[in-house]
Amino acid sequence: MAQISSAQDLGSGAASAAAGPRLRALLQRHGREIVLPLVVAFMILLFSLISDVFFSVPNFRNIGVAAAALACVSFGQTFAIITAGLDLSVGATVALVSILSAFAMRNYGISAGVVAALLTGCAVGLANGLVIAKLKVFPFIATLATMSIISGLALRLSSGVPVTGVPNAFADLAYEVILGIPVPVIIALCVLVVAALILRYTRVGRHIYAIGGNEEAARLSGIAIDRVKLTAYVLSGFCAAVGSIILTARVASGQPSLGTSLPLESVSAVVLGGVSLFGGRGSVIGVAFGVLFVSILSNGLNLLNVSSYTQMMVIGAALIVAVALDQALTRRGK
């Protein structure tokens, strides 16, 4: 009996020894990319079993519309974080863009509003980039400070009250559906594709990775560090502006309090999505799953009547787990 079991142990041991290292190597290299989609799939399965409304086209549209703005902002945040930076001002940017674009739209029409939105986003990003690259202020402090400045500006311009008079045609966009897909989702998917292409197929995209991976080596390879950082923050501001357009359409007004939870949520989505806070690694595809994780979690918890306060606690905890996991993987990968 003992002999038989030991022989069996040997057999299974040999099999796992063959599969073990390969699986471990795979996990070590791609762990960040593989784990999250599995978690998201598991979450979908779980909520489908618990709630009978969850697994339905209308609810998926809800999730999509709710996720779209966060997705745009997070894709922008990705650029900043891959340079080993951070953009905490995204929420305030969304608010300022919302106010200014609502003003512009009320007075000059929808396209003027959209142009104003995108220009504002780029301008904020440029300011962030200049403070970080030229004045050498750490991104954390720099964007924490600009967050306060931008937020103050938004409240001042709007006197703290919503800017009304946004054209109905614009507000309707948030609920328009093309080929069964809500317009905000289509916008977010466009931002995703463009961001992925920039990171993969443009020089500035690769330089963003190089700077995040090793700034000194990048500098000694002749890369213009300042210009690349500037670009990363402008892209972040631009994406935040796109996110703001979606949110502004949804609330049909310019809101000075829009996006206050976005700094936390976008950083969570980016880090959950496998982008290293130390810079140099990660992809927007991963971030898209991070966004799905945050949005599906909050949708599912809503359906289960979990209060939004409790949801805040859950997201905070998820962020800690994700960073701890990242640290563990980094340490082992060393």
Binding site: R24, R200, E216, A217, R219, L220, S221, I223, G280
Partner: protein, 507 residues
């Protein structure tokens, strides 16, 4: 003292060690040698408690032990000193020496005076006397002095076993011989030392016994006295005999390519004049901190000089950033590959292409197919043996060095400044780096080689400039090469200043 039996360790996709045994006797210096990837680092990480072995046992004084962590190993008397020194630069020397074992009342209060006395006593015992001031911030110490601080720390713990990983790699010959003297002193006090080094002459000089690893296996343990010459060790390490570590020099020297005049930066270097010709390898000798690296980084624009003129083929260049130097065809291969040369998280391909992306495809975009084709061509020319598509982190030291060289070959640079290109890489890779240097020179490139290894300079260069304390002290042509003359010049500037004399006393 310490016995390791049948140690095995698997990493994902690679077997780092299999069935390796090693025993360390009381009061012996035991050298561990092998090429990169031979398993030396894994073995010492196991011995120092950093990783746990998959097979085999460790025993101290005949009792089996298992270490939970490096601090566990320290408590049991094994202290490892790694190349990356564990020094807190902002704390004082004495505090660093006593880090984690601070003297004072009841383990709560800290007595600075007592700490400084203890540190001074240990330095005295090591024969350094007042060479290191226990009250100064540790960040101001030289690499050699920092190592002394780490050794002192081991002595505070009364560790009977000290593991030293490439302790002399970052030191000039003079500093290294000072360290070796201290090691002999420790041995006479009964401390056992496991000494890992790439410098084989040094190993033969200091070790009582030598263990050779190759490909994760134990090849031999020899009495140092029975080893006839370095060649014997080399052939054991590489499994074949390397008749020629240094290939013949390129004999086709052309016109002056790079010309530097009056280069100066306050507090770093002054009055630096030199020319390099096409096909020539110009060496820079000197102690660590002599200003060689600083001067070369100034030529490259990494830290621009206060004044001076740099010209290439007669044309004066204005270099204020590395970009300008790269555009002029000047390349710099930094001393520290991992910190300054490579983006470890990026693929080999991208590291090689990093300085030349502009040359492929439409402006602003990355033409991956062309980039891959070009980098593959460079990699095969350099005989890069890693995976180009995997992160540079995964490549061995020698292959990483080839990625850095490849970056500049691809960029088309014809002035290449190598700063300590063979530090920390194995002999096989060294020979290849020398071959590449000569190949580049034969192709018409002008080469500057900054090195702390005299044999390397004397066997690779056509001409050697010796710097000391920020100035050029001597220049030797191939016929004049002599170890004494170089060392004398290397110390010339240091003897003049006070305090440095004491550094020299222990060195």
């Amino acid at each position: 003292m310490v016995a390791a039996r049948g140690i095995g360790k698997d990493y994902p996709a690679v077997r780092a060690l299999s069935d390796v045994s090693l025993d360390l006797r009381r009061g012996e210096v035991h050298a561990l040698v092998g090429e990169n990837g031979a398993g030396k680092s894994t073995l010492i990480r196991i011995l120092s408690g950093d990783v746990a072995p998959d097979q085999g046992t460790l025993a101290i004084n005949g009792t089996d032990v298992a270490f939970a962590s490096p601090s566990d190993a320290r408590r049991q008397g094994i202290v490892a000193i790694f190349q990356e020194l564990m020094i807190v630069p902002d704390l004082g020397v004495a505090e660093n020496v006593l880090l984690g074992a601070e003297p004072g009342l009841g383990g709560v209060l800290y007595s600075r005076r007592q700490a400084e006395r203890t540190a001074a006593a240990i330095f005295e015992r090591l024969g350094i006397g007042k060479g290191i001031d226990p009250t100064q911030p540790a960040g101001r110490l030289s690499t050699a002095q920092k190592q002394i601080v780490e050794i002192a720390r081991a002595l505070v713990l009364r560790a009977p076993v000290i593991i030293m990983d490439e302790a002399t790699a970052a030191l000039s010959e003079r500093e290294a011989s000072g360290l070796l003297r201290i090691i002999r002193q420790l041995r006479s006090e009964g401390v056992s030392i496991l000494f890992v080094s790439h410098r084989l002459d040094e190993v033969r000089g200091i070790a009582d016994r030598i263990t050779v690893l190759r490909g994760g296996r134990h090849i031999a343990t020899l009495d140092a006295s029975s080893v006839a010459d370095t060649g014997e060790l080399i052939s054991l390490m590489v499994g074949r005999s390397i008749s020629e570590l240094f290939p013949p020099r390129n004999r086709d020297i052309g016109d002056i390519v790079l010309s530097v005049r009056g280069l100066r930066r306050r507090g770093a270097f002054d009055d630096i004049d030199f020319d390099v010709r096409a096909g020539e390898v110009l060496g820079f000798a000197g102690l660590v901190g002599a200003g060689r690296t600083e001067a070369m980084r100034a030529v490259f624009g990494a830290e621009p000089p206060d004044s001076g003129r740099i010209s290439k083929r007669g044309e004066v260049l204005s270099i204020s950033a590395p970009r300008d130097a790269i555009a002029a065809g000047i390349a710099y291969l930094p001393e520290d590959r991992k910190d300054d040369g490579l983006v470890l998280s990026m693929s080999g391909t991208e590291n090689v292409a990093l300085a030349s992306m502009d040359r492929y495809g439409p402006p602003g975009l990355v033409a991956w197919r062309e980039v891959r084709r070009a980098t593959r061509a460079v990699a095969s020319r350099l005989q890069f043996r890693g995976q180009l598509q995997s992160p540079a982190r995964d490549a061995s030291g020698g292959n990483q060095q080839k990625l850095v060289i490849g970056k500049w070959v691809l960029s088309g640079a014809d002035v290449l400044i190598f700063d300590e290109p063979t530090r920390g890489i194995d002999i096989g890779s060294k020979a290849e780096v020398y071959r590449l240097i000569h190949e580049l020179a034969a192709g018409g490139a002008a080469i500057v080689l900054v090195s702390s290894e005299l044999p390397e300079l004397m066997n690779v260069c056509h001409r050697i400039i010796v710097m000391s304390n920020g100035r050029i002290r001597d220049e030797l042509t191939e016929a004049e090469f002599s170890e004494q003359r170089i060392l004398a010049a290397a110390f010339a500037g240091h003897m003049a200043t006070t305090g440095a004399a004491e550094t020299a006393r222990w060195a």
